[in-house]
Symmetry: C2
């Protein structure tokens, strides 16, 4: 400690190198800094020490105290009252809030009875001896304490002020820590290689959600990729063995609200591994990186098949923090006389299902439609108690109606004070055995990839690829946290012949568009698989944020705008010239004419 103070003094006198030579002694958040401590760390152990703090003026109190803030917390600075310190007193009392200062002083115990137990530094205060004003806060768009009441738009415009809140500071720091631990786990524990892949890429055919980037060659465009999928597979073909990247990805969702046009995924790919290996890796990574203050994470996570998820929760990403599972009542109504129920049961995958909302009904509703045995059978099957509400739906098993209703009921019950889901609980769940293909929405006779065309079939289902492809299950796994899909991955097809069959014969796509991938698979591709986790979503669930915007430093608005810098912005036709593009204004488009000045006659 003495040595540290000696070094600090040397540094204060602009002696440049001693503290580097002894750098082991000057680590942590105040290394190489004008301050000796942060505003959040002083305790009664420090009483008597001379310290230097740097920070923002949070507020002044009674011309006696300045409360100083930095990222780590608050410290109370006592303004000296004796006459000899009049200049210092005047300077301190005149500080505008949010001004940035350096205060040197001595740590002292607060007088008995004046401790603040709610404040981590509440046992002490700093008797100011010196003040340097780095910057005066001359202008704020509004008072900081009014900030939370301001509109979202205003808070986005002054994002750098919003980020000063302790919550945003915590969110950004937790995110950084989580990612750092993930990297340590992947790199240092399991020998993964962090490889950067290009973001100026080729447009995926039909990739309607891909931003285009004009090049200086007429008519040629790069595209910002939605994920490094092709590159990570090529890295396995290249023998990189274990790849990861915290990858920036892009998706142009147009006007879809609450989507960020750029987002981040934890992207992982591994050779010579099976599905269980990837799942164990991800479990280990989350356990390793999980913030200590959120309690330990139990592994392995629960595993559920897609069919089980759909049957019990009516959705492929169930929130397993509460029960209220779907109850199959098809048998109860097997000989019902009610016409719409009979008709529902007669269709393919038709069923009658219910959820039982505990205490969901104020009084028992007599169900006039049902016969007495049906009612009795129904109530016993649903294990419904008096006061419970039964919601019954009839139709295709695949319809998300009851799954959605289940979540809405939970929200409704919670908004009425019922504690259904523990807000501090984290329920991780793997969903596996997805169908490899699903009927196309616009043409149910044809098949589409349930996830993407590179997913390998389950080995025991491979033969079905030729006969009944719709029955094939994929080696795909989704990771769900508290009902949010936070990741998905698969073992990939590593043989060119199988990949070609899937593309050409099942998906009816033009395989020449992926010729470089097919060629790569034929040059010696190892078995491989991987996963991608949505980092923004994962962090937002971990910190309990209502939007991913709360875990991103500079998010875009609902409409994809940066309200602080005004992006996107206009660009002159002159500046577009090197890119060989011109703007097609909607009116001209309606007029059906060409571009430029020739639109008239």
């Amino acid at each position: 400690m003495l040595l540290q103070r000696v070094l600090f003094a040397l540094k204060a006198h602009n002696v440049r190198y001693p503290w580097v030579v002894c750098s082991d002694l000057l680590l942590g958040p105040s290394s190489l800094s004008f301050r000796s401590h942060t505003c959040g760390e002083l305790r009664s152990d420090h009483v008597g020490q001379k310290v230097t703090l740097c920070g923002w003026v949070q507020y002044l109190r009674q011309d006696l105290f300045v409360i100083l803030r930095d990222f780590s917390g608050l410290t109370q600075v006592l303004i000296p009252q004796e006459e000899s310190a009049n200049n210092l007193k005047a300077a301190l009392c005149g500080l505008a809030v949010e001004s940035v200062v350096k205060v040197t002083g001595t740590v002292r115990k607060r007088p008995a009875g004046q401790e603040n137990k709610l404040m981590p530094t509440g046992e002490i205060e700093i008797l100011a001896q010196n003040l340097e004003v780095f910057n005066i806060c001359r202008k704020l768009p509004f008072e900081m304490k009014e900030f939370v009441k301001k509109s979202e738009a205003l808070r986005m415009q002054y994002r750098y002020l919003a980020l000063r809140s302790s919550q945003m500071q915590k969110n950004l720091r937790l995110r950084s820590q989580l990612v750092m631990k993930m990297r340590e786990y992947l790199c240092n524990v399991h020998g993964f290689v962090d490889v950067e892949t290009p973001t100026l890429f080729k447009r995926t055919p039909g990739g309607a959600k891909e931003f285009v980037v004009p090049s200086r060659e007429p008519g040629l465009f790069y595209s910002l990729p939605q994920s490094p999928q092709q590159f990570k597979q090529l890295l396995m073909v290249a023998g990189v063995d274990r790849y990861f990247q915290i990858a920036r990805c892009y998706r142009d969702e147009g006007s879809k609200p609450d989507r960020q046009p750029e987002f981040t995924q934890v992207d992982i790919e591994m050779s010579f591994v099976d599905q269980a290996g990837i799942m164990a890796l991800v479990e280990g990574m989350l356990q390793f990186s999980w913030p200590a203050e959120k309690g330990p994470l139990q592994v392995p996570f629960q595993v559920m098949t897609y069919n089980e998820a759909m049957r019990d929760y009516g959705v492929d990403k169930p929130d397993t923090r509460f029960n209220m599972k779907l109850i199959d009542l098809s048998e109860v109504f097997s000989s019902t006389k009610i016409e719409f129920l009979r008709s529902a049961l007669s269709q393919s995958e038709g069923s009658i299902q219910a959820i039982c909302v505990p205490s969901g009904a104020v009084r028992t509703n007599p169900v006039k439609l049902l016969s007495v045995p049906e009612t009795e059978n129904l109530l016993s099957r649903a294990e419904a108690k008096p006061g419970d509400l039964l919601l019954i739906a009839a139709g295709s098993l695949r319809l998300p109606l009851l799954g959605n209703l289940r979540l809405q009921c939970a929200q409704l019950l919670e908004s009425h004070g019922l504690s259904l889901r523990d807000p501090s609980a984290f329920h991780f769940l793997w969903v596996v055995d997805f169908p490899l293909f699903l009927p196309k929405e616009d043409n149910p006779e044809e098949l589409d990839s349930a996830h993407h065309p590179f997913t390998a079939p389950r080995t025991e289902d491979t033969d079905l690829l030729l006969s009944e492809p719709h029955k094939v299950r994929g080696q795909h796994y989704d990771l769900v946290l508290n009902g949010c899909e936070i990741g998905g991955g698969s073992i990939r097809i590593h043989k060119a012949s199988l990949q070609l069959h899937v593309l050409k014969n099942i998906l009816k796509e033009d395989p020449s568009l992926l010729s470089h991938l097919l060629e790569a698979l034929d040059s010696g591709a190892p078995p491989h698989g991987g996963i991608a986790l949505g980092l923004d979503r994962l962090v937002s669930v971990v910190v309990g944020a209502s939007s991913i915007r709360d875990v991103i430093a500079f998010p875009k608005s609902f409409r994809g705008h940066d309200l602080m810098s005004h992006a996107p912005d206009t660009v002159s036709e002159e500046e577009l010239k090197p890119y060989h593009i011109s703007i097609k204004w909607p009116t001209e488009q309606r007029g059906g004419g060409g571009g430029g000045g020739s639109a008239g006659k």
Copy 2:
């Protein structure tokens, strides 16, 4: 070891979780994998062990050996010759090179005299007992051993094959390790926060090198930023205190060769710090992350002022691995009668300088132009010995002529076998005290920022900002390694009034374009500074690569093309519609007409 094998056996039988529970025992590059070891790690210590290797068939030898390869090296597999193993023998002998296999067998010592000392695994071989062929290599564009002879274009097209070379594997792994250690140093040692900043940003006015990204709103464009400069300063205003990011940046250099349109920088910003603090931080970071096999790095690095660099080396990024400094001969010729020398000396900043190339001349050249005292004076001043070559230039001090000549001479001498620069030496150098402003190239009466308009002046020069701005030195520092500029940074202006003065009165720029930054500085900005290191360049110097393409997994070609996937590519007018742009083909442009089909008559 026994436990490890038990766990491995359990895993081989698809028992999923035991090795997770005991995960401490199954770490490293073969964790969770089909293999028990990599192809580079077996030694005579392993003799007698049953092992499983996965890898690529490097080559076959005499129907006796298969050489198996993975990222870590090569292992020799012995093909069993006894009759009972005929099937296995046939399978192994029939393997096409670059096929991917799993081999199980027993480690044995090579027979005496057959060890290969050049091969890390050369003491042992694996007696094969089992083979699984994962994938047959059916097609290679050429033989792998011919690869290095192929054209750059072909090697880029088959990049995944180029990456299989041990050199590229090493480069990518060294890069990953270096970055990982940098992160550990910044995050874990000094409390930095890894914050991601947007890459869909607003176009910088006049930012001719910024790619544009059309949005779905007519006439509005995002822009891919050249660096996170504005965001990192705003993060300091936001109180984040210590930010870093391994940031993807974009620069559209058009047709400039050997530039990558996207590149990566280690981006750092700190509050409450001075120039010496940032320099010490970077020195510590490089020392901490420096690859052990490159020898220890000495800190502090040498520091040189801009004026010293220009005077002694004729360049602001001197290669200090060799001497051959510039010698000022102005005094020698102070009363010369040679007209062009007199004229050179009479101009502003005019001088006569020389470099002395040791043994650069085969025989002494009689210099007929010079008088005897001039020649004697000259030779003594240059400390030239018989056989040395003196290159003399007269003109402005700022011309890069002799600086370039010095480097070209070094190359020339080295190409003739002289060892001038130690290829294993790493000379780091800080260049400081740059002028804050330089005369504009097209109009020397006006000033431009030497680096960028946010650089703070040296405190003692601040007053000159009003009177003689061209004399102001900036708090800017460049980091040079072996004559390559690998980084640059500065202490920033943190007061709005000063920033406004620089923008408006000195640079004559429209300050409203940076109004959000000026407003931010007035809301309580701390003193701050930072640096950005060019990661691609740094890694390429460390590994001794001739191009940054050798340290990037999927680089673009000279012309900015991805030759593997064919990016950039055409996009249909239909797909451009949502972005309200159309292509302006050069011929149409020349014709002056509009777009689309209306171009004719």
